[in-house]
């Protein structure tokens, strides 16, 4: 007889979600639903009628961890719609900003991950707040990596949280030669730290993977399964680092392959909670007798690619562009660490190529005729696609397909076979960013190809 257990809210990730898990007598998940319960803010609807300059600054406010992704994807979707090519030096500044944001985001996620992990060779969970070594040095290294990321973002992007420098047609300002040197120095320092951090994290993650049992934070130990966090969905990524847009000679994302369905079609129906655990770490699980209704409660639409949910994020990028083939929750975590060095080396390459006296704004910025433009930015958590139609400088239509939105159904599938007590470890492997994911639903009753509606 299967039972239903609910973890609500989940912790140590961005935003507000819960897990509704159908488990067998051994506590192994038979079907898991991981869903957003973050209130919908409706960015896409309120953007309609606003100027193309304002809408991306609003969508930046979707998330304060990856505002760079939303700012750049938003702006580049508008540029894609109006057909505006930006100068090289503006592009380089955007690449630097992208690298800086990914660096800080991955480092931040380390802090969220570590409490699940053990000091290698011991049974002690890592508490990043501990003043004791070796954890203290790791925490300081993470802080410095984030400081480097945010400082570079501040210089190249005007502001690390909600960057002010990007604009339709390029950037508002180029940087001074002094600022260029400063970015280079910071990247050099960061490259050493990032490599140390990557090695440390991979050691810790592999140690976790090789353990027969584990617990969430300081909870009780349960036996893990062999294929912890495996799923059979595919991967989607458009670039190892930056982005692809409809203006590219060879675009890497295909609107016609994208469909979107309502949670109704994907999630479980109404459930009664029949299993509870007052000793679950941090807070108890939902008491038995309560009701959960994932179909109705989920606040995200379910986007699909080629008719199926698809994983996005660090592993998808490495799988597509570097033949990375490690599966499971730790496969995803390790892929994330492997992206560290590229953030710094790409930053250095871009800043090296930057001409600080070059123009950073296009000579001509068309006002748009309502054609569809899209930009797919490789946010820290995966492909962040913004689609827009701009006419006479105003947004006519705007849609956000955000990494965690893609990952919600994939991660739900990846929960199957795992002990429910470790479900949050799988969720965290996706580095979920739920306020990102919770945007506006495109209700698509007949499961039509939404792109057909766009192209019309």
């Amino acid at each position: 007889m299967s039972k239903v257990v609910e973890v609500s809210p989940t912790t140590r990730h961005e935003g507000h979600t819960k897990l509704v898990l159908k488990v067998n007598d051994e506590g192994i998940i038979e079907r898991g639903d991981w869903l957003s319960i973050t209130p919908v803010r409706g960015i896409e609807k309120l953007a309609i009628g606003k100027s193309m300059h304002q809408a991306p600054k609003i969508s930046s406010r979707v998330c304060g961890i990856c505002p760079v992704a939303h700012t750049l994807a938003g702006i580049e979707a508008m540029e894609g719609s109006i057909g505006c090519e930006i100068p090289d030096d503006a592009y380089l500044l955007r690449v630097i900003l992208q690298c800086a944001n990914r660096l800080h985001s991955h480092a931040l996620h380390n802090i969220l991950t570590l409490p699940d992990m053990y000091l290698p060779g011991t049974d002690t969970h890592i508490n990043p707040f501990s003043a004791e070594e070796p954890v203290r040095s790791v925490a300081l290294r993470i802080q410095r990596l984030r400081e480097i990321g945010q400082t570079v973002g501040e210089i190249a992007g005007g502001e690390p949280i909600h960057p002010s420098n990007p604009r339709i047609g390029g950037m508002y300002k180029n940087i001074s030669p002094r600022a260029k040197a400063k970015i280079y120095d910071l990247a050099k320092e960061g490259a050493v730290l990032a490599r140390e951090q990557m090695d440390f994290m991979i050691t810790v993650l592999k140690d976790w993977e090789n353990r027969p049992t584990a617990s969430v934070a300081s909870g009780y130990e349960v036996e893990k399964n062999e294929k912890f966090g495996f799923h059979d969905q595919g991967y989607m990524a458009v670039d190892p680092l930056y982005a692809s847009t409809n203006l590219d000679a060879d675009p890497k994302w295909y609107p016609e392959r994208w469909t979107e369905v309502r949670p109704w079609d994907w999630y479980m129906g109404e459930q009664e909670i029949t299993l509870d655990d007052p000793n679950y770490p941090n807070h108890a699980t939902t008491p038995a007798g309560a009701k959960a209704w994932p179909q109705m409660e989920a606040c995200t639409a379910v986007p699909m690619y080629d008719g199926a949910p698809i994983e996005v994020g660090p592993r998808a990028r490495l799988a597509i562009f570097r033949n990375y083939d490690k599966k499971g929750a730790m496969g995803l975590q390790i892929a994330r660490q492997m992206e560290y060095p590229d953030c710094l080396y790409s930053m250095m390459e871009a800043v090296d190529a930057l001409d600080t006296s070059g123009s950073v704004v296009a000579d001509e910025i068309p006002q748009g005729d309502g054609s569809l433009g899209w930009a797919a930015n490789e946010a820290p958590r995966g492909t962040d696609v913004h689609l827009a139609k701009v006419k006479d400088g105003r947004v006519q239509w705007y849609s956000l397909l955000v990494p965690t939105t893609w990952n919600f159904p994939v991660c739900s599938r990846a929960l199957e076979g795992a002990p429910w007590q470790l479900a949050e470890v799988i969720v965290r492997a996706y580095d979920p960013c739920v306020s990102c994911a919770t945007h506006m639903m495109v209700v698509d009753e007949e499961k039509k190809v939404v792109a057909q509606k766009l192209v019309q």
Binding site: T151, E154, I155, I161, N165, K173, N174, S176, R178, A179
Partner: protein, 287 residues
């Protein structure tokens, strides 16, 4: 405390002939920034650089002595220097920012340091704040009217403007001098200046102005620990000639008198705002 807190007051002028050539008074601001830039005390300074119209300043981040020299001289109109305070720490990549400004701009700076609303990274990057004495300011159109209509001088011909001894004076490049009583300029003053209670930039690290010292010299107040440190280094480096303020005419008595006059007059304006309407008043930012 009409002159604010200070460690020392003195009369000074730069020893650099290049700086003095076009400086308004003793070249104190330009010389201090030039010295601080050379010594790495600052790596750039926000100054009022040349704008696109004569005597219309445009705030710039000066990162070389040439840019500092281009900002010499008083422009009696608004230069929103604080608009660059955040940008200086962003695309300019500065770690140690210098800034010059009127008393109100020094207030804005200190407020940004203590209450940084949307001012991330700014508070700890301010290395040197130089304040200039200020009685009042004019909008650009007001200044144009004063110079072109009251003084009968084309803006393009003016090389220097000066307010002192109750007169507004314009000097032209052809050597003519045009002078009007300051009374004529009152109606062109920026209304916001009428609630200002600071004459000698009380919140700066070092403040300077013409009043109290002879022509070609500046009165200087060294106020903060930071200001004192930089000032004594600059003196040791031979940047300035100095005189004891007690030995110069008209000296601090006049400064005190003018400061008291400004503060008393504007305090009255502030008080009047409380009962401006019938049964209601206007806002007072100090309470």
């Amino acid at each position: 405390m009409v002159l604010g807190n200070y460690k020392t007051a003195l009369s000074a002028r730069s020893t650099d002939a290049d700086i003095l050539k076009c400086s308004q008074d003793g070249g104190v601001v330009t010389q201090l920034f030039a010295y601080a830039l050379e010594e790495g005390i600052i790596d750039g300074a926000i100054v009022a650089g040349p704008g696109d119209e004569p005597f219309k300043p445009e705030p710039v981040v000066a990162m070389s002595k040439e840019e500092l020299l281009a900002a010499r001289g008083t422009r009696y109109t608004i230069s929103p220097n604080m608009k660059l305070i955040k940008e200086a720490t962003r695309s300019y990549g500065l770690d140690k920012v210098g800034i010059v400004g009127t008393p109100c701009q020094m207030q804005a700076l200190r407020k940004a340091q203590l209450y940084p609303m949307g001012m991330r990274s700014v508070p700890d990057k301010i290395a040197l704040a130089i304040g200039i004495f200020c009685m009042e300011n004019f909008p650009y159109q007001g200044l144009e009217t004063i110079v072109e209509d009251h003084c009968n001088v084309k803006m393009e011909s003016a090389v220097k403007m000066d307010i002192g001894k109750g007169k507004f004076t314009v000097y032209t490049e052809r050597g003519a001098v045009s002078q009007i009583p300051l009374k004529e300029t009152h109606k062109y003053e920026q209304p916001g200046c009428h609630v200002c209670l600071d004459y000698v930039a009380n919140l700066s690290d070092i403040s300077t102005g013409s009043v109290g010292s002879p022509d070609g010299w500046s009165t200087v107040f060294v106020r903060t620990k930071k200001g004192d440190d930089i000032w004594s280094k600059a003196i040791t480096a031979g940047c300035f000639e100095t005189k004891d303020i007690a030995s110069v005419k008209p000296g601090l008595d006049l400064v005190t008198k003018l400061a008291t006059g400004k503060i008393d007059k504007n305090k009255k304006t502030l008080e009047e705002r409380a009962t401006f309407g019938v049964g209601k008043g206007l806002r007072n930012p100090y309470i």
